[in-house]
């Protein structure tokens, strides 16, 4: 599992309920093709209340007035679980891509008057303000056939036995919440507005992790040749430049570079096989 956000080391005791202000500088955009602008808001937080970035966005929504007193619209953002398991609230906070729900104000802006900068992810088309459209990530899961081809939904007996070690290995890949942090940080992954080009553009680390997940499962590996076809085709694993940014930003600490190495090897062998089969 993930390691917790480091607790602020200042164990200096503080009074409960001390109120302070933080500023939010937010990159806003009213919709695709519209100009971007920055707006700054002042938000009151109470030390120790556990306020995160999203709680502050809610406060802004309830009182959409900038720090200079200008009236504006509530900021638009995406959220779901509020506990870092759904991936919805991913954005750039102070220049680093992460989930906003697990970003506590007392940690990221510990002092009175500190500023937090919020920007939408850059690698996906903007919908509005902090909300981007990541449907490409879900489409990519089709490209790599990220599923187990079971016979059907009626019971036919248990699945294959699995050692605890293998379960642990698969489990960690299976916690990928399609958040896109790894893609946002990857120098090889670019925004592609033309959906018809998605299938030949670089798949990105999370999809390679899914290939590894399913190729390790006794039933799902039946589709391994097809997954490896995708991995050897244009936009496949060989386009990874090994910058290792992905693994540094993955909130679930998924060993993406291990997956890239393993899938890379499998793809090479697969390519040679295909070559000799003349396919």
């Amino acid at each position: 599992m993930t390691s917790p956000t480091p607790v602020s080391q200042d164990s200096a005791k503080h009074e409960l309920g001390a109120e302070r202000s933080v500023y939010f500088r937010i990159k806003r955009c009213d919709g695709p093709g519209k100009a971007t602008r920055w707006e700054r808001f002042k938000v009151k937080v109470t030390r120790g209340e556990g306020a995160n970035v999203l709680a502050c966005l809610e406060r802004i929504a309830a009182n959409p007035v900038t720090a200079d007193g200008a009236k504006t619209t509530p900021v638009v953002w995406d959220a779901g679980c509020l506990e870092e398991v759904c991936g919805a609230c991913t954005m750039n906070v102070n220049g680093k891509v992460r989930q906003a729900c697990s970003c506590l104000i007392d940690t990221c802006a510990p002092n009175d008057g500190d500023e937090v900068v919020l920007e939408p992810m850059q690698k996906f088309p903007i919908v509005r303000d902090l909300w981007v459209d990541r449907s490409r990530m879900f489409e990519t899961l089709k490209r790599v056939k990220a599923w187990t081809p079971i016979d059907g939904l009626y019971a036919t007996g248990p699945g294959p036995k699995e050692t605890p070690e293998r379960q642990q290995e698969r489990y960690i890949y299976s916690t990928c919440m399609t958040c896109g942090c790894c893609l946002e940080a990857c120098p090889q992954f670019q925004q592609e507005p033309d959906a018809s080009k998605w299938d030949t553009s670089f798949v990105g680390a999370n999809a390679i992790g899914q290939v590894q997940l399913f190729n390790e499962h006794p039933t799902a590996k039946e589709l391994a040749p097809e997954r490896l076809d995708a991995m050897t085709a244009a936009g496949g694993v060989s386009e990874c430049g090994n910058a290792q940014n992905c693994v540094k930003v993955c909130p679930k600490e998924i060993p993406l570079t291990d997956a890239i190495a393993a899938v890379g090897r499998a793809a090479t062998i697969h390519g040679i096989k295909r070559f000799f089969q003349g396919k």
Binding site: M1, V45, K142, Y154, K161
Partner: protein, 658 residues
């Protein structure tokens, strides 16, 4: 204008949590085209939040005396016998098959040394019957179903409409009977309002945590979809049955679960003796701390059962105003334990606290408070009972002469009172009675989709009216109605800060607070009546609520405000049911009627919307109890009070996350 239909009959599924995905997969397998709608990408549905596990009888437990029948009995007993029994029979008997199926899909269930599925102990059972996948069972199950639905999507059987919000079911009288023939939805990006035709509509939109303000639920759990069906004539059952989890971490945006194992491992609950004391807890000397559970229950101390813990914490904070810093919070203190021991036993849950509360619970006492957690009530649904005798192939309890389950191909399985409109998963009321056992919800959602999917396919093939038989008039009318709501909201928009009386966020906060105070842990008739008045006021203010955004592009402000007025309607149903149910049962505790009263209230509460007054009409229906005779739900409390044989430590520890 209704679009989206070809010549073949389709089913609209609204919601892509476990229930909606299971139904979509089943319908696609049956050769039915599915249009799957969700306000968020289905892979981000609330079901990802479930941590603890999923229950099913298994071979190990069976050899120790457990059975599907015993699982059914626990579920009925846990639910204080308010659930109709045949659906629970069927669900618990399908459970092992469902685990096998999920296993085949590749769910990484935890394993034993030999490679079999591992099991854990959970509240409400003496047997290990809970299967789990790491600390994210719900996420893992949701992903497995999401993958199968993506496969069906690739095969052309499922069409997804993500970022679409369901607004209203469309009904029409066909051959003298009112049926659901489609629905109206809005694209949350373009804000286009549009009608969709279908042979049947399945509501799988989850629970209503947000009615209570901060809950353990996700932001999509508003209950608005159910409230809209109710206002369109669908019955809502057992609304008052809301489960509260005793130890949640109150956050600024939501309450996150804190496992009960923290108490199991010696956590002590206290508040400062001085009202409103704002000192750092570490500066408050022991004599100035009130360990109220230890004081009131010297024998059990902090290990009193869940409902008692909730009630006492609630009483100290809400009634006596003794919460930390006068807020609704108490300390759950583990700091007297060594770091080493805490890390060994509780590391996972302490890390969750650290991550979201930003404090190290090994150094500073945790702050916790009970929080709304699960919606047992929901849209009323029906089924066709099926009697099976000893020689029936489907019956596993061959030692019983006669059992009653649900007929698999029946077209009314989980149908609301409006034919063609179905409700599956947490949004219906079917399985958990007056309270839900931990790790039974995931099961009920998946079972619902897989089982009811068969009957829904039959209904659509055989009974759903042909498209030609339904004019476009009801669709046009529903679109008009919803467009009018949009326009009315927009017409009141003004940028910047609005008067708190009509600020939707302020109204939502007041709604959550009132509902939490009046209608969660402890209820009285008087307090509920007072809340009902307050809700009327909020409803009136809601009708004047002012937006800060008039745009017709991704207007979340509008979607939020619209949902709010539906949440207010649901709050009325919850309160009205609570007022009429003059007894205590399961999660419903009435201080003024502390005992269960089977003579009068072994009955399902049914709320019907009265269009003339806009208020719910409450009536009661018999609970169907052919299998197990209702008995007192004591969990051995009586014996314990004389000589406490404490619950097995493991049970307390294992009540865990549910």
């Amino acid at each position: 204008m209704a679009a989206g239909s070809g010549s073949e009959k389709r089913v609209i599924v609204i919601g892509g949590g476990l229930a909606g995905l299971a139904a979509s997969a089943r319908l696609a397998e049956q050769g039915i085209q599915v249009d799957l709608f969700s306000i968020a990408p289905v892979k981000r549905s609330h079901s990802v939040c479930a941590q603890g596990g999923i229950n099913a009888c298994n071979e190990v437990a069976r050899q120790q005396g457990f059975s599907e029948w015993a699982h059914m009995d626990e579920t009925l007993y846990g639910g204080d016998f308010l659930a109709d029994q045949p659906p629970v029979y069927e669900m618990t008997h399908w459970a092992p098959k469902i685990i096998d199926l999920l296993d085949r899909m590749g769910v990484p269930f935890n394993r034993t040394f030999e490679g079999y599925r591992d099991l854990r102990l959970f509240g409400g059972s003496l047997f290990k019957r809970t299967h789990f996948a790491g600390a994210t069972t719900g996420q893992q199950l949701l992903y497995a179903l999401d993958e199968q639905v993506r496969r069906a999507e690739q095969d052309g059987m499922v069409t997804k409409y993500e970022f679409w919000e369901f607004l209203w079911p469309v009904t029409e009288e066909v051959d003298g009977e009112r049926r659901c023939v489609g629905m109206v939805a809005q694209d949350l990006r373009t804000m286009q309002v549009r009608a969709f035709r279908a042979g049947a509509v399945v509501i799988a939109t989850g629970g209503c945590g947000l009615v209570f303000g901060k809950s353990t639920n996700s932001v999509s759990c508003t209950g608005a979809a159910a409230a809209r069906c109710y206002q369109a004539g669908a019955w809502y059952a057992n609304g008052e049955m809301i489960q509260v989890h005793p130890t949640a971490i109150p956050g600024a945006d939501k309450c996150r679960l804190m496992s009960e194992s923290a108490r199991g491992e010696g956590g002590r609950v206290w508040v400062p003796r001085t009202k409103g004391d704002k000192r750092d807890p570490r500066d408050i000397p022991v004599p100035e701390r009130w360990y109220f559970l230890e004081e009131k229950y010297p024998k059990y101390g902090n290990l009193v059962p869940r409902d008692i813990a909730s009630r006492e914490i609630f009483d100290v904070c809400v009634n006596q105003g003794m919460g930390i810093g006068a807020e609704n919070m108490v300390y759950l203190d583990l700091t007297h334990k060594s770091r080493e021991e805490l890390d060994r036993k509780l590391r996972g849950i302490l890390e969750i606290y650290e991550k979201f509360a930003g404090e190290d619970p090994r150094d500073v006492p945790m702050k916790i408070f009970p929080a709304m957690h699960y919606t047992m009530g929901g849209l009323w649904t029906t089924f066709t009972p099926e009697e099976r005798t000893a020689d029936s192939v489907m019956d596993r309890d061959s030692n019983r002469e006669r059992v009653i389950g649900m007929q698999i191909d029946a077209k009314n399985t989980m149908s609301t009172n409006i034919p063609g409109l179905y409700a599956l998963g947490e949004v219906n009321f079917a399985y958990h009675g007056a309270t839900r056992l931990g790790a039974n919800a995931l099961l009920s959602c998946i079972f619902d989709g897989l089982f009811a999917g068969v009957g829904i396919a039959n209904y659509v093939r055989d009974d759903a009216p042909d498209e030609e038989a339904v004019s476009s008039a009801p669709f046009d009318a529903a679109v008009k109605q919803e467009e009018a709501k949009v326009e009315s909201l927009r017409s009141r928009a003004q940028q910047g800060l609005t008067d708190p009386a009509v600020n939707p966020y302020v109204i939502a906060q007041e709604l959550g607070k009132e509902m939490t105070d009046a209608s969660t842990v402890v209820k009285t008739g008087e307090r509920l009546e007072k809340a009902l008045n307050k809700i009327q006021e909020l409803g009136e203010r809601c009708s004047r609520a002012t937006l800060a955004d008039a745009s017709l592009w991704t207007n979340q402000n509008m979607a939020f405000t619209r949902s709010l007025s539906d949440m207010v309607k649901l709050a009325e149903v919850i309160l009205a049911g609570g007022i009429e149910r003059r007894e205590s049962r399961g999660s419903h505790f009435r201080l003024d009627y502390p005992d269960r009263d089977d003579d009068q209230f072994l009955k399902t509460t049914v709320a019907e919307y009265d269009a003339a007054t806009g208020r719910p009409k409450i009536s009661f229906r018999e609970v169907i109890t052919p299998l197990v005779k209702p008995r007192a739900r004591t969990y051995g409390k009586v014996e314990k009070s004389s000589d406490p044989a404490p619950e097995p430590r493991e049970t307390v520890a294992a009540e865990a996350t549910s």
